[in-house]
């Protein structure tokens, strides 16, 4: 198996009131290509901080993170942006869609930034919206879509540049159970097509849909169902 993510001794401190808050205290985590892992834990345990570091959104205070063989800890912000754009997809709890753009335009956005031609990105956006079951809503703007539909648009956008890794931060957190199930089914299809998935959730039921669960507490990994010889 090819290692897609390799985090070693990752720590992250945030300054707060003149002191440092230790969000992560030395996390080791490896993810292989095609895996679907869930990072679970109580609120404030550092799981979203870890996800941000693994996806190249933030830089660690210490330790190293390699994503697709690239040392994120050593990259400049512009290089991390480029990597996020071309190799990584991100699905957020609150969808993070641009309200002034239609569903199709939201999906086209990362492709536009990546320099893909208009005809090609329009075709691919429609294809992706069909894939997530929103072929009939391409011209709708986010305020006119339900929460589940908005999250589907966000997933289509995350897949726009054919990422090798998809990160999701509480992707069902804002949705009702049935809609959450639909989104997880969609993730299953994405993963089945070979995309590596890293998902953060506080819901054990949602975490159980992944093939591997990493449990965190107080900024540390306390259990990893996929760790060799581990718990």
């Amino acid at each position: 198996m090819t290692r897609v993510i390799d985090a070693r001794g990752v720590a992250k401190d945030y300054p707060y009131g003149g002191e440092a808050v230790h969000a992560l205290r030395g996390v080791d985590l490896g993810v292989d290509a095609g895996e679907w892992i869930s990072i679970v834990g109580p609120s404030g345990c550092g799981k979203s901080s870890l996800l941000n570091l693994l996806a190249g959104i933030d830089a660690p205070s210490s330790g190293t993170v390699e994503l697709l063989g690239r040392p994120l800890h050593a990259l400049r912000e512009a290089e991390r942006s480029r990597l996020r754009l071309r190799e990584v997809g991100f699905v957020f709890q609150r969808f993070h869609l641009l309200a002034v753009l239609t569903a199709q335009e939201n999906v086209e956005l990362p492709m536009s930034e990546a320099g893909i031609g208009r005809a090609e990105r329009r075709g691919r956006a429609r294809e992706l919206l069909e894939f997530v079951g929103l072929g009939h809503r391409v011209k709708h703007r986010p305020p006119h879509l339900s929460g589940g539909e908005q999250q589907r648009v966000a997933i289509a956008r995350a897949l726009a540049n054919r990422p090798r890794v998809l990160f999701a931060d509480e992707p069902t957190g804002e949705l009702d159970r049935r809609t959450g199930e639909e989104i997880l089914a969609l993730f299953q299809r994405v993963n089945a097509e070979g995309t590596t998935m890293v998902m953060v959730t506080h819901d054990p039921g949602v975490a159980a849909r992944a093939e591997r669960t990493v449990e965190m507490a107080d900024g540390l990994v306390v259990r990893d169902s996929g760790a060799k010889g581990g718990s």
Binding site: N52, I57, R82, L83, F92, H96, L98, A99, L109, E113
Partner: protein, 267 residues
């Protein structure tokens, strides 16, 4: 100074001719062909009849705007005949052909009439326009304050607009849109707002100037233009808009692109 004492109906004949300015013609009223009697105010000289040969519009002159005086033009010999001392004048003007050098003409006049002081119209204008220079500087000061205020206002507008869309900026950054792209987009938006604002301001200025000019033309019965919006002013406004927009956009953008994307959505 002359006085018009009587107006007769059109007689004409071989009388000397005079031109009267439009305001005088309207006030009396006078028409071309009418005969008027004229005598100098300073003496008890006899009345001399003149025929109105034409009506002219007095050149707009801000230094005479509030003086309630009328102007007539006579042929020089006729005017000379009406003066108490026919070989003496206080001052006279010589109009040269366009582009002609005034210095040789000034030297010639000084040589012909000893003791004559000759001034170019530009020197005279400068000497008599010190009040207007002060007013002009005052206008410049108002302009500079206005530009500063509008620059600060634009910066505030851009900061508010950017602040309102921090979540959108966060989205762009999180999906991998570069800081440079976000920066460029904000600056371009600020420039567009500023240039549109400048265009709207120029439009308001042009309409406002027309209203002001129409009002004072009515009050003072003059062709003088009190407010001017020239192509140079419009161009300056557009360039200032461009510069201020770019600066305000760059400042607002600088604030936002230096915040880590994961913290941009926070308030």
């Amino acid at each position: 100074m002359l006085t018009l004492l009587a107006v007769a109906a059109a007689l004409g004949g071989g009388l000397p001719q005079m031109l009267v300015e439009r305001r005088l013609a309207e006030a009396v009223p006078l028409h071309v062909g009418d005969t008027v009697s004229v005598r100098p105010l300073a003496s008890g000289a006899a009345l001399r009849p003149f025929v109105v040969a034409g009506v002219f519009e007095r050149p707009a002159d801000p230094s005479r705007i509030s003086r309630n005086e009328f102007e007539v033009r006579l042929h020089l010999p006729d005017l000379q005949a009406m003066l108490p001392a026919t070989d003496r004048v206080d001052r006279f003007a010589v109009v040269l052909a366009p582009g002609a050098d005034p210095s040789p003409a000034a030297r010639w006049i000084a040589g012909v009439a000893f003791g004559t002081a000759v001034f170019g119209s530009r020197d005279l204008a400068e000497e008599s326009s010190s009040t207007f220079r002060v007013v002009s500087r005052f206008h410049h000061a108002i302009g500079i304050v206005t530009i500063l205020a509008s620059g600060i206002f634009l910066l505030c507008v851009m900061t508010i607009r950017v602040d309102e869309r921090r979540r959108d900026m966060a989205t762009l950054r999180l999906v991998g849109v570069s800081r440079a792209t976000v920066f460029r987009a904000i600056v371009l938006e600020a420039i567009a707002i500023a240039v549109l604002g400048s265009a709207a301001g120029a439009g308001v200025g042009i309409v406002g100037a027309r209203i002001v000019n129409a009002y004072y033309a009515h009050v003072y019965d003059t062709t003088l233009r009190f407010a001017l919006v020239t192509p140079r002013i419009v161009l300056l406004a557009a360039l200032l808009g461009l510069g201020l927009g770019a600066a305000a956009g760059a400042l607002a953008a600088w604030r936002v692109v230096n915040v880590p994307p994961q913290r941009l959505g926070e308030r």
